[in-house]
Amino acid sequence: MAGKREVGEFPLKVTNVTKSYGSFTAVNDLSFAVRRGEIYGFLGQNGAGKTTTLRMIMDIVPPTSGEVNVLGATRPRTVKHQVGYLPEERGLYRKMKARDTIAYFARLKGVPAGRARARGEQLLEEFGLGEFSKSKIETLSKGMAQKVQLLSVIAHEPDLIILDEPFSGLDPVNQKVLETMILNLRDQGRTIVFSTHVMEHAERLCDRFLMIRKGKKVFEGTLDAARGMEQPTLILQTPDDPLPLLDVPGVVDILAQDKGRYRLVIEDDADRQAILAFALNNNIRILFFGQEERSLHDIFFRLAGAEEVQSA
């Protein structure tokens, strides 16, 4: 096994990467960088180019142009032993025992036989599958098999872990287990990149994330930064007519939502206290008044999928 590479500040850097299949461009001039020790979300609709990008990172398909740098290596294959990859299309040998499965994938990553087996036992024990260590995969439930799959991705203790849609196919309980597992891995100092189209997971887990749409980057940064890109809105709940509030400086628009619930689009520097005072002075009774927290879900719709939604 070649010497271990230093992880560096950016374990993963993608620079101007394009991937075309004939006339179809799956990934278009994509650039981003993942920092050491963070959980990095990779968001996009189905077909946005997530899997293709991850495959290029893993050196499974070569980019048409651009450069992928993994742990300082431009040929990602040379550092495969330090990277763990859970593909979206995943499966196991049905006739193989759980422990042997984990050990086999670890061995492919250069872990010596004895250690690989011990690691298999230990991980299964740790994740509550100790008693199934010698069971064949075909006898396990789907959730258990998925766990075994994940364990075989991390068995060789990789520095960089890339998970393609890791939550798909898991029930809510196991999704929670996986979330905890990802957080633990980060706490051990590992860097995790995962793709998803379920925003709740990304919202809870990611330090930073990347949104792509039709192969192009539409956003990269923290959740707060994403929220900052949105015009702030206030939510007002009242049985009375709120339209007089339009006279307050900084209030741009008032949109009716559900019954008695209104959305106030305001300028950044609008004085929220002035709006509240104006309402009280004009006999607009207030049942609720507050800043709206934009969910990643909304941002995702706007950034990564708005066009499709509107045309639908």
Binding site: M58, V61, K80, V83, P87, R90, Y93, L108
Partner: protein, 503 residues
């Protein structure tokens, strides 16, 4: 390198360390042993056929009894000869220290009757006593296979033939038994006009076992012929003597220095045929394993997991090598065991015995380039065929998808089968030479030709051509494999496949 080794080990263990494979390895020698056992059993346990003769002429029953006695004498002689070959120590020159008719060899009816008159097995054993090897067992008893019995008590001997047969039918159908619980197998009816009609009736419930009816026909035919000779004024004993004149043809294979005996030479010719056949079976069956294996990995979606650790090329090489080793394991095991057995049992090869044949097998197998060639051609033929399978498997999401490719490929391999007999008949003829130079058929053609000492340049050139073509095919199929293994575009089409080959 380490990862490649892992892949190979994984593939190998997956097939070899399974109950199925071990069972398969056990089955072949077991089947052989069982065959030998069944042979012995059927010798021992073949039923005694009891039959009744209704003779309207009243002349033929003694003739049939004579024929039965002759037959028993020949059987007895056969048993003695086999025993003597095995247990009587021969002289240094290979002859036996016994006087005729006791010395084993000539199986003629004359010697059989002399043997019987000289006292049969008891006398022979007494004569051979001083020369018996240590631990010689008793001579196996000889049983008469056909026994003529008289009419059962409840069938009147004087009745008319029709009612006699009717009364015998329950015996033939197993509803009644003869004395001592013996079953009646057949009733032979000899009509009064047998000399003119030359036909007898044979009543039985078992038309499949035709051995007894054949025997009766031969015995009666012999009787009628002898009558005809006598009628022409010829002495039957003279005719018999003349009839026993025989010329034996000693086939000698010309290419062996000093010639080689027929049986041994034939063994040498059969071995390549067996090996070529084994080669075909191995290549197709291991190729099939590889196809299922590739499709399985694709449909189970394991392949991308693997590709995160190894390259597609490594994966492909790992599979090809792993399964090649699986394929080699079995013949290597059998050849190894076979060599030991042949060495162990073939130690003292007395002429004209089984040991000589064993020696010929051993010489034919291990004394010629056949075995190394077998493995060389297995590897080349396997790579040729399997790399195509691998590419097809990589393009298919299910076995059904792959099916449309597999059938034509197998047919292509089977295509020259009708010509193989031509290759055997004329190993250096035009068909043989043409087949030698068609890479897909080179392995089989060369295996079949090798004992006829074909020109060395032909074999070398054909093998070089095969090597080149295999290299090209593996390279091209490797490209298709790498492209196909991650795509999921449904069933591949020939058009698509050929397009990929051309690219």
């Amino acid at each position: 390198m380490n990862a490649l080794l892992q892949l190979i080990t994984h593939e190998y263990r997956k097939y070899v360390f399974t109950r199925g494979f071990l069972a398969f390895i056990m089955i072949i020698p077991l089947a052989g042993a069982f065959g030998a056992f069944a042979n012995k059993i059927s010798d021992r346990a073949s039923p005694i056929r009891h039959f009744v003769v209704l003779d309207e002429t009243g002349e033929f029953i003694p003739r049939i009894d004579e024929a039965l006695a002759d037959r028993d004498a020949e059987d007895t002689l056969g048993v003695w000869d086999q025993y003597a070959y095995q247990w009587v120590s021969p002289n240094e020159d290979g002859t036996f220290p016994l006087e005729p008719p006791f010395a084993p060899g000539d199986p003629s009816p004359d010697r059989a009757s002399q043997f019987k008159e000289a006292g049969g097995i008891d006398a022979a054993l007494a004569a051979a006593k001083p020369y018996l090897k240590d631990g010689a067992p008793e001579v196996p008893s000889v049983r008469a296979r056909y026994v003529r019995v008289g009419l059962p008590m409840d069938v009147p001997a004087a009745g008319d033939q029709q009612s006699q047969i009717e009364q015998l039918l329950p015996y033939l159908n197993g509803k009644k038994m003869l004395d001592d619980d013996r079953a009646l197998f057949a009733v032979v009816v000899i009509p009064a006009d047998i000399r003119e009609g030359r036909q007898v009736s044979f009543w039985t419930n078992n038309l499949i076992a035709s051995d007894l009816s054949g025997f009766i026909g031969r015995a009666l035919g012999e009787t009628l012929r002898n009558e005809a000779f006598t009628a022409e004024g010829l002495d039957v004993t003279v005719v018999d003597r003349i009839r026993q004149i025989q010329v034996s043809v000693n086939e000698i294979k010309a290419d062996q220095a000093g010639g080689e005996d027929g049986a041994a030479a034939r063994v040498r010719t059969v071995i390549p045929l067996v090996l070529a056949y084994t080669l075909f079976i191995m290549i197709t069956s291991v190729g099939g394993m590889l196809l299922t294996n590739t499709v399985e990995e694709k449909s189970n979606k394991i392949v991308e997991m693997l590709l995160s650790s190894v390259s597609a090329t490594q994966l492909m090489i790992g599979k090809l090598v792993g399964l090649a080793l699986v394929g080699i394991t079995m013949p290597a095991l059998f050849l190894g065991i076979g060599y030991l057995l042949l060495t162990f049992f073939g130690a003292d090869a007395a002429p004209g015995t089984a040991a000589e044949i064993i020696g010929a097998i051993k010489g034919g197998l291990f004394g010629s380039p056949l075995v190394p060639l077998f493995f060389l051609y297995f590897v080349l033929g396997y790579l040729f065929y399997s790399s195509i399978y691998l590419a097809v498997g990589a393009m298919s999401d299910s076995i059904q998808d792959a099916q449309s490719f597999v059938v034509p490929l197998t047919l292509m391999l089977l295509l020259p089968l009708p010509f193989l007999s031509l290759v055997i008949q004329d190993p250096n003829g035009i068909v043989a030479r043409v087949l030698t130079f068609i890479p897909l058929y080179t392995p089989y053609a060369v295996m079949l030709r090798i004992s006829a000492q074909p020109p060395f340049w032909e074999i070398a050139a054909a093998t070089a051509l095969l090597l080149f073509v295999v290299g090209y095919v593996v390279f091209t199929m490797g490209r298709i494999y790498r492209k196909g293994v991650l795509s999921s575009s449904g069933a591949p089409s020939w058009k698509e496949f050929l397009n990929l080959v051309r690219k």
